[in-house]
Subunit: 345 residues, 2 copies
Amino acid sequence: MDEEEQDEQQKVLQNLLLLHELNSEVVTKRDAEKFLEALATKSSKRHSITLSSLLLNPFVGSACRSFGFLVSKARYVVSFLEDVVPAKDLGSGELLDAVEQHLANLRSKATPYYFNTLYDPHRADSVGFVRGYPFSLRLGVTTVMSHGLSLGLPDYDAPTAIVKPHERTQRYVDAVVTIPKGSLFPLSGSNVAFDRRLIGPCMLLRLGIGGQDSLFSGSSSSTSVDDVWAGLCAKVVADHLGFGVKTGVPYVWRGPDSSFSSNGAVAGALASLKTEFKPLLLLEDVVPFFQTLRLSKNATNAEDCYAEIARMVKGKLRGLDPSFERVAAVMETWADAWKAINSAV
Amino acid sequence: MDEEEQDEQQKVLQNLLLLHELNSEVVTKRDAEKFLEALATKSSKRHSITLSSLLLNPFVGSACRSFGFLVSKARYVVSFLEDVVPAKDLGSGELLDAVEQHLANLRSKATPYYFNTLYDPHRADSVGFVRGYPFSLRLGVTTVMSHGLSLGLPDYDAPTAIVKPHERTQRYVDAVVTIPKGSLFPLSGSNVAFDRRLIGPCMLLRLGIGGQDSLFSGSSSSTSVDDVWAGLCAKVVADHLGFGVKTGVPYVWRGPDSSFSSNGAVAGALASLKTEFKPLLLLEDVVPFFQTLRLSKNATNAEDCYAEIARMVKGKLRGLDPSFERVAAVMETWADAWKAINSAV
């Protein structure tokens, strides 16, 4: 972004973050270039080329967002897509504070080992645990991810958006659920918060799963399952390391506004079907891959787990689609970048 | 119950069931006696003594309820405790039809192999599956249990009821969730419906887990974890056989009414702490037992699975508490009674 835009953005951001006594820092393309130069002296040439291509080609959307996760100094990262606005409280009509609700989810424990029927027992206004919940499991574990939902236009894949153009999500479900250990879920990158230190390396949102080989050029360089992939990685890593993942509130609002009519949505979905088609089909095999994946005891942090998944992707998914060769290389490089950042701190 | 009571009960029941075009049949102690006489000719003497003691000593509460499950001819069973009344719709104030909602849960598919973030995608008014949900997993599996929730007095164990006497559940969460495969939950027997043919044998609500050896005499012959135990059995069997278990709506209302003040609740909880104490402590080991239990490929229906769990209880839990010797024997007998009923049909 140019300097003027950057100033404007920074002002908006700082107002929002001051509200929660959080720090903000705007990351620019120049920061990414400097980071890559520094890394190049320590890393292999192949790695630094892969990373340059990933981050700078071009430095927009999920690429610059993922770079922000990497270099942030914050414990918690809250990430919204550009088209997201706060949802309104059903009763009072007031705007809901999604940042506050994400932080509440992350700061309270999760319960992945046994299902509490009255939902998140560690939520501040919950009645807690019901009869039959073992006392030794009530302490819970550290929450590393808070996955929020959206009202309005449902988060559909292209085929579903074509088939159900008029569908809207209007049910505000006032609940938070810990997704049980061993169960995977489809992460949407539009409204999510996570513990950067404990799970951050998994949240690379630009891998181009099932995309073309010349993928890291042009603006549409993420495919529609890249965030889903990040969620699958994050969940298996959280399960392996003994952390929890929550989903539910906070809700945000996503279209449809006047510029995004049902007609427009269908036209958009028809256009993206061409590129989404293959990544979506790959998911049918990718999900079982993650469901049966077992990490080794040596993998004791997210960077190591992510590197281990990269090696399994190379070994087991290469035959499924040629893009996984590149995906594995990028993941390995990304794990190295996180190790470099962490060792420099 | 006596004849007059029985007539009255039957009238109320039939009105409710006619509404849903369901059949009702009131089961009496005489029916249980006849059933036991018939079984005695086919079964071992030890078995028929165990079963008589279980069902007739006395024929009340969970004992007569469980016998009803056994001899019913219905596909679906809906079971409410006596202190349960319908909950009200938040918006309109109208009474919610819990029977209809249970049947809707049971008649639609469940999705135990992958978590749908917008809750039950097979609910009639759901927007369905979100992006990232594999198409091959969308068909779902047969639902064998619908576990409802309650508003009002939370379903606490005795220690929690003492510690939090004023707590009330008031959050109506308009959602249904399939409890993922591999995840267990604390079933409450107060508001539950299930597929009798596919999971019925697991729903024996009177085992006296952690109770005294002379347990099947006197009215308080179920302990507070007997329904939880039934739920643990049902969930591991459903997971093994490839069926789904849902929890969420319908809600019912449970106290507090004038006769059940906070003071009364605390006094009641203090009294029951004496008998509940041991069963509750046993849960700390019972839950890991069920979490690690693996059924064999030979167990292809609920009766066989239940009998197999009985043998594991005998082998692995006997050392934990002497009551498990009796529990295992009762479970085995119960599985035989179901086999006898099914072979007679």
